[in-house]
Amino acid sequence: MTSQSIPLQPLLRAATRSDTLDFVLSAISPQFSLKRHMARLLAIREECPGTHTLLLQPGARWGGFIAGQHVGITVDVNGVRYRRTYSLSCSPQYYERYGHITLTIKSVADGRVSPRLAEVLQVGSYLEISAASGEFVWQEDKQVYTERTLMLAAGSGITPIRSLLDELCESRPQQDVVLLVYVRHAGERIFKQWLESLPSQFSHLRLEIRYTDQEGEITPENLLAACPDLSERELFVCGPQGFMDKVRQYTLDHGAQVAQIHQESFGSRPQRVVSSGPATVSFQKSGKSIRSTDGKTLLELAELAGLSPKYGCRSGICHECKCQRGSGSLIHAVTGQPIPDEQQQVQACIVIPDGDVTINSL
């Protein structure tokens, strides 16, 4: 056989998909994996009580990032695999120089992952990370606004802002920047030293730190007092949803345009819909939906909606009826217990919707 007649391409493709090959490569070094990006955890630093920075070294195949973007990390907590998204809190220049990246993570009260990270992650171990993505970045193409910037950060929302400012300080240290940082009290201040050093790195930077426990939440008046020309600036806002909603409202009221405002949402506490009367179950794949009534199971509802989902025993034994939940709460028909939120694959024959639910796979 000549080398030309060997179907190299398909063989190579099959090889990169092979679990066994990936197993061998990962055994040599986790970073040789062709299927996953594994980052080595070099250190965990405490920024302030409850907030930690992870110093990570991604593998050579990881594609880098743009300032302000985020990555997904995969973490196992007590055997359950979670994927969570975190903004990079360093600049791309830092990554180029040292080959390291940082993520800064604040513990969310009763969170499943963030409060346990420092305990479950071992320095020296490897962590799966995704490629970076996100739109909370410098808008180079829209020259009009880039001359002056207003940045508002609340709580852990400072993370992408740090990345953006670290980059800016290398490329345009003469930029006119107003940075307003909102934290509850001094004990929750993240990046204390960095904040202190900022004014010396920019020629036109104004920094204000507001302690909301003493000064109260953001208001239109104190926002305008801190930055009277906000409608002429490009805005970067990151913080809890409620904070961002307020900032958006106040700045639009003061003449800012929608295109000027860039926001990064870290998610929020979901309002659990207490089922008062019938709720709707939407089946994404088929586009059908149905009102859920009197304790009918998801399987029965899907059938009533005119679908014919796969099933077997209809009593929770065989798992043939597994379907993928998009969102919403479900309860177990036999035990009455809620199905944990992270469980996406659910047995349609033994769960009952509790409020609005979307199912992706039907």
Partner: protein, 370 residues
């Protein structure tokens, strides 16, 4: 003891309800305790299995002496057994779905055997586990080839069923792969071949893939050593086939494992389902290696009560299950591996003979003695 069905419900309604609640309790306690321990266990099994597979294939390919080749065959066979029984079978039951690990999800897992995973989930997880040992509904009962109970009509072809049993064991992966074809129903015309075309397509796709891997791709990679590799892979598959068949037969076809009629099980409650699973299954005892290599089907009773609880927990759950059995005076069918298997062989042989009142019995002197 005879192999007839025995009355199912010897308990009062209240007793039955309390019995069901106790088993629900064992289940709930195990589920509430799932965590790192289970994740570590199954990942360790995956790691062991992969190592055994790689070592096995390397030894078969590169070994210079029959001894290394033989070691390779054993290692590859063990890897296939681990993958099919402790990993694949259990993962496809949904035992590890709670981990959210895409490589261990019941509905997308595909295993290293001729049987298409989708087909397996339907015939095994649903049909066999729901209708366990119900004559005419559980098609795993004798695989529509063997007569295993006196409730079933005897036919002269059953005289030779021991040979069929051996053949089934030798080609077990293909027997399992073709299970959904329902050959018996095709023969009596209750299903048509046309209805089976989608299944046959899946069967062909998976079967070819498995055949191609062990008998074309890997041998081709060995160049001049192709024959040696194909033979080694064949032997490894044979070892797995015999092992899997033996383990599975010990689970439901031991002497005291009961069968049931459809009428008995109509409208059955969850507690009654538990009860039937207990009477229809049998365990065997042995060392840790035996439990692991059987995918913990050595705890078949616990597996049938709690099919979606991680199997490595069955040993600890069995302590509680046995206590419940004792309390409600329910037989707990267990014994050494050798003993249980002997009773299987006896049952296969004995059921091959015509029933006592059959005219043949009187005519053939050899049978009269029985």
């Amino acid at each position: 003891m005879d192999m007839r069905t025995r009355p199912l419900n010897l308990m009062t309604v209240t007793e039955l309800e309390a019995f069901g609640k106790e088993l629900d309790g064992i289940r709930e306690r195990a589920l509430a305790d799932l965590g790192d321990r289970d994740a570590r266990y199954i990942r360790e099994m995956v790691r062991l299995q992969k190592q055994a597979e790689i070592a096995g294939r390397l030894l078969i390919h590169l070994g210079r002496s029959p001894l290394t080749w033989g070691a390779g065959v054993v290692s590859l066979s063990v890897s296939k057994i681990l993958e099919n029984m402790e990993i694949g079978h259990n993962v496809m039951h949904g035992q590890y779905d709670w981990m959210n690990d895409p490589s261990l999800q019941s509905q997308s897992y595909e295993w290293d055997t001729a049987c298409d995973a989708e087909s397996w989930r339907r015939t095994h997880n649903y049909e066999h586990h729901t209708y366990t040992n119900i004559l005419g509904k559980d098609r795993d009962y004798g695989y529509a080839i063997l007569r295993l109970s006196e409730e079933e009509e005897w036919k002269p072809r059953h005289l030779l069923q021991f040979g069929n049993y051996v053949l089934l064991s030798v080609f077990f992966q293909w027997g399992v792969a073709l299970h959904e074809l329902e050959f018996d129903k095709l023969r009596d015309g209750s299903v048509t071949l046309k209805e089976k075309i989608p299944f046959l397509k899946r069967f062909a796709r998976k079967g070819l893939k498995q055949f191609g891997k062990d008998y074309l791709l890997f041998p081709a990679l060995a160049g001049p050593g192709a024959l040696k590799v194909a033979a080694g892979n064949g032997l490894a598959n044979l070892g797995r086939n015999l092992w899997a068949s033996t383990i599975i037969f010990c689970g439901h076809f031991t002497e005291d494992a009961q069968v049931f009629t459809e009428a008995e099980c109509e409208g059955e409650s969850r507690a009654q389902w538990y009860y039937r699973q207990m009477l229809g299954s049998s365990n065997f005892t042995g060392g840790q290696w035996l439990h692991t290599l059987s995918g913990h089907l050595s705890y078949q009773i616990e597996h049938h009560l709690f099919p979606d609880v991680p199997a490595h927990r069955y040993p600890e759950m069995s302590v509680e299950v046995q206590a419940v059995c004792e309390k409600y005076n329910i037989p707990y069918n267990t014994g050494s591996f050798g003993h249980q298997y002997l009773t299987v062989l006896k049952r296969v042989l004995r059921s091959s003979l015509p029933p006592e009142d059959h005219p043949l019995r009187k005519r053939i002197p050899f049978l009269r003695r029985n």
